[in-house]
Assembly symmetry: C2
């Protein structure tokens, strides 16, 4: 059986996150870095050198140029969110598959334009949410869908905060309205929202209501906020995101029979393994002074780092299309769109003084 050659990925932009994903492309068994582009040739060249790219990597001095590269199958796009709609559509029109950083767009209307271009051109799109590709995430889903050990979900609470320093809060693209205008919501909140959707089997909530007390910078970009979500059958969730508080990332999902807790869901404490705790039918001893069935910890070995798992999955889907004539996979773009819809609804509720936003029909 012939082995298909690795999927040739071009890196479109030299953002900090591209260093990590470049390493992941190198680690993924079915992908290779074929090219890198920046708005300046020198910057692209220097990025390639300092990140140990293969000698054969093509250096492009413009985004237009990498789109024309016939030896690039797919593009990794870590550009500022405001540029996604333009460059993702242009990439799709050139037949390039797209691994697109999150948030995927400034709003779902923009993302729908990207999706339409991908569909029209038969290209795969996937967003850059790494943690869902960690082998741990499959174990989380397994527990959450276990009707004995977990039962029916009642609520899920998720948060992601980190403390941006003075420079970050002044200069990072994630606090600039013209670049990543969704701020902490589009960045940290994206992950927390994705976690609530994963726990809800990717069903969209009915309503989204921002908490009072969101913090915005002078330019109106969200630095911290939270929201409560409801589903038709009584399930609820809360999300919280912030650039202003110590690094914390939590999922706490509570079902009728069980509880799942993850304390490092976005970036595991260690690269080589990832843990979570579960409890089932926890209760108290006779005098209610200690627990029976307290939570227990489970550890999953991580053969490849989660970002390399992401690249491997993306390259696998691209390979199916390129080598076997398959159609693009619909699951990954569908959950990108749902995450963006909830991001948009939280933003709308923040903007409308915590009005309850209905998602029905969206």
């Amino acid at each position: 059986m012939a082995t298909d050659s690795p999927i040739r990925i071009g890196v479109m932009g030299c953002a900090e996150i591209a260093r990590k994903v470049s390493r992941a492309i190198n680690l993924a068994p079915n992908a290779t870095i074929a090219a890198v582009a920046s708005r300046s040739f020198e910057k692209a060249k220097s990025f390639a050198t300092s990140n140990g790219y293969p000698e054969s990597t093509k250096i492009h001095g413009s985004y237009e140029s990498i789109l024309e590269d016939p030896e690039v199958d797919a593009l990794y796009v870590p550009l500022p969110t405001s540029l996604h709609v333009e460059w993702a559509i242009r990439a799709a029109e050139k037949g390039k598959h797209i691994l697109l950083e999150k948030p995927v767009a400034l709003n779902v209307a923009e993302f729908d334009k990207i999706l339409a271009a991908c569909e029209a051109n038969g290209v795969q799109i996937m967003d850059g949410t790494m943690w869902v590709h960690n082998p741990r995430s499959a174990k989380l889903k397994e527990f959450l869908s276990d009707s004995d050990r977990f039962g029916q979900l009642k609520t899920v609470q998720s948060c992601f905060s980190f403390a941006g320093d003075e420079d970050f809060l002044k200069n990072d693209i994630r606090v600039k309205p013209g670049l990543d205008g969704l701020g902490a919501l589009g960045d940290a909140g994206w992950y927390a929202i994705r976690a609530t959707l994963l726990a809800n089997n990717f069903e969209l909530p009915n309503t989204v209501t921002a908490f009072p007390g969101a913090v915005l910078n002078e330019a109106g970009v969200i630095l911290s906020c939270g929201a409560s979500l409801t589903w038709e059958d009584g399930r609820t969730a809360t999300i919280y995101c912030s650039f202003l508080a110590n690094l914390t990332m939590e999922i706490n999902a509570i079902g009728t029979n069980g509880t799942l807790s993850v304390h490092d869901f976005i970036i595991p404490f260690k690269e080589t393994e990832a843990s979570f705790t579960t409890s089932t039918k926890a209760w108290f001893n006779e005098f209610v002074t200690a627990w029976v069935n307290p939570p227990s910890e489970h550890t999953v070995k991580t053969e490849l780092p989660q970002e390399a798992c992401m690249v491997r999955e993306f390259a696998r889907l691209v390979g199916e299309i390129k080598n076997k004539g398959a159609k693009p996979d619909g699951f990954w773009p569908s959950i990108s769109r749902k995450t963006q819809l909830v991001v948009d609804a939280v933003k709308e509720s923040v903007d409308k003084n915590c009005e309850q936003i209905s998602l029905s029909g969206r």
Copy 2:
């Protein structure tokens, strides 16, 4: 130096929780069980026997009778919440100090009547929230007030749920409007609210807003709900409580520099020790694939079970009054009142379709 004799406590009502507190009174070095009362002499006698009360324990066949007992210094009152206002006031009028189960009243107006009676009669009142007396709680406060390790609080999330079985959800006093009409909010929510107040140095929030999606039973008693809280300087909190989901109790407090997590804050996993995790200035390694300064666990040995620590502190305060002519302590009733105020505000917001409730001036 003469040792003062133990404070003589009467147990007023034979609720399930009274078994645990009776054991705690026996364990506390400065307290003793002097009497027990029920509406039936036989029930009180049987309760005394089955809980190993001393032979000398006086058995009272009515609540009126135990109030008249001159050999009772103080009363532990685990009666249904709807009866608190009547019996706590009558106890105070008889000069009995009061250890009152939570929620302390059906609303703060009732509790203020109790407080007035206690003040008029110079008696101590303390509520039955045990976990704040665990030696761990002092360590939690120490971390939360450390400006280097924790910094300024930004948000605190707290939840307490347990899965009531069919019998509980049908027959327990906590689902009966005429008995414990505050339901899950007054029971489980009380603890979560107390945790958010503790993290906020017992400052009252400015606003309280219930989450959409509260669940009420047919009689209108809350079975699950949540709320977001805000403070003037941008601090926020969320609380969640439920009778409908697996046993879970979490505090997650995030400051500018640090994070505190407690997974068993109300009843520790073990009776003999209690843990919590902290992190300070947590961040990522170079490729953002693992943590630097991940959370670390701290364990506090529990010399006495927390409920015995509570009785010891209550008896100490009563002893100061009885033996040294001290005035009743004001701290404990003040935090009971604040907790009740927030309970009331959540209830009001649930009743008013998630309207934002202002606590200023309350």
